[in-house]
Each structure stands twice: as structure tokens, then as C-alpha cells.
Amino acid sequence: MQEIYDEIRSDFRYDHELNGCLNCGICTATCPSAQFYDYSPREIVQLLWTANVEQIYDAMQEKIWACAQCMTCAARCPFKNSPGGLVMIMREVAIKHGMQSAKDVLRPFGRVMLKLITTGNQLSPDMIQPDHFPDWGPNIQKVEGDLKTLRKAIPVKTLQTVETAWEVSLKTSIEMYTIWEMTGVMNSLETMDENLFDVIEDFIDEKRDDYEDWLEEQEDDD
């Protein structure tokens, strides 16, 4: 527990986001999540400020995931604190330690992560379909038609795709994988969800092979 707290405190953003706290509650007053959850940014700041290690750990089990990351708190705090920013540090630490709360929260995010890590895009037209979002109603599109044709009717060439938001060049994707690996994102992913990690690794290997082939083709052409 102490280790977790120390890790939060040693993040280089920590001093940037927490300067002290008046306990004034302005952050909580305008926090959207405080209206719907048993959650208060003031409480988060106070916990960190007063170094209540056990309660910090408890908050990381659930509460920190309520924050909507709107940063209203940061814009309003008279002490220039950023409770939302502190929450982000806590979330990162929760992931690093493979905390159960993080695992639970991440599960429904799997599709977004798969998309993100393999394509460098986070959202694609094939994800925004009525069967994925039944509560969005039956008429997500006002015109009948097959998704591919509807996308081709967008007058921007890069957008005529279905599986990515825009067409991403192979080289760009490969660069992205290097970033994920070198910054430890792949490691966090492995800690959190081994299955997803395996699927993504296979995908990356395949794309890297494609890229190698493409490079060879280019050389042959020269």
C-alpha cells in the first residue's frame, strides 16, 4: 500500500497537480460525477494531501473510475489543483499493479484498445452500429444503405474506410507499435488482459511482416 502511495507521489506530475487544498469543495460542486456517484474530487485531493494510505488504496478500488476527466475541477480550483489529473495518475498506478478495479473497468474497453493499438485509430465506423449500441436507437443512419457505400459517398478520400476512421499508412502503424513497446504500454496491457495482449501481438507481427514485404518490393522496383 505504501508502495502504491509512493508511486503516485513520485510521478513527476504530482506536484503540478496538487499544491494544497482549502477543502472549499468548489471542485465537487461543479463535478458531474459527484452528481451521480458516491464520488468527490475534494475527497480525492484530501486523501492524497493528508496521506491517508489505506483510504487512498480503497479509493483506487472503485471511486477513481467515476471521474469523467472533464477537468472542470482543474479550471475552477482556487489552488490550481487538478483532481482530475491526480485521478489519472492513480489510474495509471492501479493498472501497473494489476488492481482488480482496473481489470473490471478495462474489460468493456477491449474493442477500443484493440482498435487503437493495432490501427492507431480509436474509433471506426464499423464500431458505431446499432447492434453495439442498442440504446442509441434504430436510426443511427438516416439513409438506408450499406456502410461501405455510405462511406464512399463522403467526399474525402482518406475517410472512405470502414475498419478505421481514416486510412492509415502501414508505416504509420508500424511506428505506432514501436511507441507502444518502448513506452511500456504493451507490458501494462499484458498485466491487465493476457488474451487481448496475445491477439494484439499476433496482429502486430503480421503487420510487421507485411511491412517488410512492402519494403522489399520497393527495393525490387528500384
Binding site: F12, R13, T30, P32, F36, A68, Q69, C70, M71, T72, A74, A75, K80, M88, E92, V105, R107, P108, F109, V112, M113, L116, Q122, L123, S124, P125, D135, W136, G137, I140, Q141, K142, V143, G145, L150, R151, K152, A153, I154, P155, V156, K157, T158, L159, A165, W166, E167, S169, L170, T172, E175, M176, I179, W180, M182, T183, G184, V185, S188, Y211
Partner: protein, 449 residues
């Protein structure tokens, strides 16, 4: 002249306070001097920023002098227009030679957003490949995922930022221009907030710079061994803001004076690194961030304020995927209902993907909770394009919106049914391979592989 407010004579105090508040009886000159002092210290535009709030751009110049980084400059060629930020700082907004930094949410979900923007650039006779560039060599900023799930970290966000902006810096080469010819124009509010935050960390932390330098070096994305950081981070709505009068005077064809507009400014536009958001005294008295509202005003629509303007939309990054009850309750209760009941809005305008998606898609389910309110939602640039005669389907792409855009379009004097018929005929053409583009599609693929 006395400062005393009529009706307060009996108490000898200033209205609203007890009698211990006495009129200071200052002369006009003294009063000005006194309020000047207050303004200087308290007015939010000149607020004492303290050490932590100094202008990050000044540190960038220092770092450049020390040979640490290269600053991607906005030059006269970018034909910049100066605006004021929240703290009264100048911000240069380039109007030309722009590198479209697309948004995964917009392109995947609200494609009329980037299409309308490029349509405007063409209307101003911008030459693709010279005055603007859209290409495949870019990734999303990855910040939605980061704020939603916590997967990712400052280092990965910084590497992505520097990778994309390096590409913007060198992209002109391929088209026969100098380095730095194209300046990045960020489409997404989340990317905009995230990039500004990350830029701050990069400038402040030598350790972070050191770490990402290794990555950028490996990617071959250093220039003379240095990181490239742009002079300003520019959001597309800032481009619309500085172009608004030209849009209204040169391109507007439809009278929108009967349209009641409410505005939702994205949190990550003006609450994150808030010192950099644009405020303009001519837009809602400078009490709200100017972008979005300003173009609605310039077009002559009725811009209506409403009490929950400061609230977020309920997107929540994570919540829109896995905690939808929060998202839809918040958006219906705090935004849609208020816009409808208080402002009787014909439309709600946004400047960011997440907000527009949230408020657009979550109206239908409201009926299940006896919240039968609906308001069309779109981006400022889509509304402006409609007012300038753009096709509601082919360009503004309203067919992807779940909210009731039909009524708004009709109220603007455009026939929805007619436009839909034309579009359906066009879909047949598309199937036959006759596709219309806003510009030479080959240019967009210039960065392939």
C-alpha cells in the same frame, strides 16, 4: 458624484451591504485609479499567474536557443490572425498552409465535420497540396483511450504527439515545399487539450524529453537530432473563429436570423490548459470562450445562453462505453432538456467529437424515461456550411446524425426530402464507381506506407 446607490441613504451603507460599508467618496480620477489596481490584480485577463502559470511558449524559445528543440513556427506565409487568450496573451492562428490533424471520432462517426471544413477551404480557393494537406501518415492522439481506460502513459502520449507533429513539419517536402510549410490544424477537442498538456510537460521536464528523444530517434523523427514542437497548438474551431467574418460576408447564402442556437464548448477545449483558450469581448461579453459562439453570431443566428453551459456533456471517456447510464442521464438532464426548455433551441452546436456524439446519440433512449426532448446536434462548422449553401447530405453528412436535423434544415429553408432524394441518386453513382472528391484523392494518399 456619490457612488451611493439610491434608496440606501438611510443606512449610509452601500446597497446590499451593512452600514459599515461606507461610500469612499472618491473623485472620478481616484476611482479609476483604484479600480485599475483591482483590474490589474483580479481581472481574469490580467490575473497574477504566479510562477506555475507563465507562458509556456517563452520557455520553448529558451529551449530552442539552448539547442534542445526546434520550434515549428507560424510565419507570414501562414497568414496568421492574432487573437487573445483567457489571460490576455496573444495567440497566432494560421489561416493557410494547414496540415489537417484528423480526429478518429469525427472521421469515424461525424464525417460531415472534416468534410465541411475542407469544403470551406475549397470555397476560399485554397489549393490542396499547397494551402492545405490531408494525408494518411498520421495516427489519432490516443488520448480518448488514455482518459477512458488509463492504458497509455505520459511518455506514449508525448511520443505520439511528437511523431504526428514531426510529420506535419516535414510533410511539405513531398509536395515541393520547405520544411514547416504546413502547420498542424487539430480537429479534435480531446487531441487539442491533450497535446497542450503534453507540450507543457515536455517543456518542463528534461527527463521526459530525454526518454522520448530515444523513441523519436528510433522512428527517424528527429530534425538535426532535435525534437520538433509547434509554436501554437491550433484547434479547427479557432480557424473557423478567425475566418467567421469572411465566411459570413463572402459565402453565406441563407438567412439564419430565425434560428435559435445554443452552444456547448468542449471541456478539453477550454478547461484543460485553460490559459490558452480564446476569449473575445464581442462574444457574450468575453464571459464565455469565443469559439463556436462567434461563428453563430457572425452568421446572424440568435445565440441563446442557458444555465448549464458550463457542464460537460456526460461523455466521460470511459462512461460512454461502459457506464452509459451516467452518460445518457447527464446529457439528457443537464444539456438537452435545458437547451430545449430554457432556450427553446433549434440546434445545439459543439466543437468536439465526444460532446457531439454523446448529445446526438443519447436522445432516443430518453423516451424510456419520459424525457421526450430532442435537439439537433452538430459542429459549428457544419452549421456554417449549411448557412453557406452546402448540401446537407453530400457535404454536411447529416445522415449520420441520430438527432432530428430534419426540422432545422427545413427551418433554414432547405428541403430535406429533396436533398435526400438527390443523395440517394448519388449513392447509385457511388456504387457505379463515380465518386466525387473535394480534391485530388492522390494527394491524400501521399504518405502511404
Amino acid at each position: 458624484m456619490s457612488n451611493q446607490i439610491p434608496g440606501d441613504e438611510n443606512t449610509g451603507g452601500i446597497a446590499g451591504h451593512g452600514s459599515f460599508f461606507q461610500d469612499a467618496n472618491l473623485s472620478a480620477e481616484e476611482a479609476t485609479r483604484a479600480t485599475d489596481w483591482v483590474r490589474k490584480h483580479v481581472d481574469r485577463r490580467t490575473i497574477d499567474l504566479g510562477e506555475r502559470m507563465d507562458d509556456i511558449r517563452e520557455h520553448m524559445w529558451e529551449l530552442e536557443k539552448e539547442g534542445e528543440i526546434i520550434v515549428h513556427r507560424i510565419t507570414d506565409e501562414h497568414e496568421p490572425i492574432n487573437v487573445k487568450t483567457l489571460f490576455g496573451w496573444d495567440k497566432k492562428v494560421p489561416t493557410k498552409q494547414l496540415w489537417h490533424h484528423k480526429s478518429c471520432g469525427q472521421c469515424g462517426n461525424i464525417p460531415g465535420y472534416p468534410a465541411s471544413l475542407m469544403w470551406f477551404m475549397n470555397k476560399f480557393n485554397f489549393e490542396p497540396g499547397k494551402d492545405y494537406l490531408d494525408e494518411t501518415d498520421q495516427t489519432s492522439c490516443t488520448a480518448w483511450n488514455y482518459h477512458g481506460s488509463g492504458i497509455g502513459n505520459v511518455e506514449s502520449l508525448a511520443a505520439v504527439f511528437l511523431r504526428n507533429f514531426h510529420q506535419a513539419y516535414v510533410s511539405g517536402k513531398q509536395h515541393g515545399h520547405e520544411l514547416g510549410h504546413f502547420f498542424p490544424l487539430v480537429h479534435c477537442g480531446t487531441s487539442f487539450g491533450n497535446y497542450k498538456e503534453i507540450r507543457k510537460y515536455l517543456v518542463e521536464s528534461a527527463e521526459l524529453r530525454e526518454k522520448v528523444k530515444k523513441i523519436l530517434g528510433k522512428l527517424g523523427r528527429l530534425v538535426d537530432g532535435k525534437l520538433v514542437i509547434p509554436e501554437e497548438i491550433i484547434h479547427y474551431s479557432e480557424w473557423v473563429h478567425v475566418m467567421r467574418n469572411r465566411i459570413a460576408s463572402e459565402l453565406q447564402t441563407i438567412d439564419v436570423s430565425n434560428i435559435r442556437v445554443t452552444m456547448h464548448a468542449a471541456c478539453h477545449y477550454y478547461k484543460m490548459v485553460h490559459e490558452d483558450a480564446i476569449y473575445d469581448p464581442t462574444v457574450l461579453g468575453g464571459n464565455r470562450t469565443a469559439v463556436g459562439s462567434s461563428v453563430a453570431q457572425a452568421l446572424g443566428s440568435q445565440l441563446i445562453d442557458y444555465s448549464t453551459w458550463y457542464d460537460c456533456c456526460g461523455f466521460g471517456f470511459r462512461h460512454i462505453i461502459s457506464e452509459r447510464e451516467f452518460t445518457r442521464s447527464f446529457t439528457m438532464d443537464r444539456k438537452i432538456r435545458v437547451a430545449k426548455e430554457e432556450a427553446q433551441a433549434d440546434v445545439m452546436l459543439g466543437i468536439d467529437t465526444g460532446c457531439i456524439t454523446t448529445m446526438d446519440k443519447n436522445q432516443w433512449i430518453g423516451r424510456a424515461h419520459e424525457q421526450n426532448f430532442s435537439v439537433p446536434i452538430m459542429a459549428d462548422v457544419q452549421f456554417a456550411a449549411l448557412a453557406c449553401g452546402a448540401d446537407p447530405f453530400k457535404i454536411v453528412q447529416l445522415q449520420w446524425h441520430a438527432s432530428p436535423c430534419e426540422e432545422l434544415v427545413e427551418k433554414m429553408g432547405i428541403s430535406w426530402t429533396e436533398a435526400k432524394k438527390n443523395f440517394e441518386a448519388y449513392l447509385k453513382e457511388v456504387e457505379a464507381g463515380n465518386i466525387e472528391y473535394l480534391y485530388n484523392p492522390e494527394l491524400a494518399l501521399g504518405g502511404r506506407a
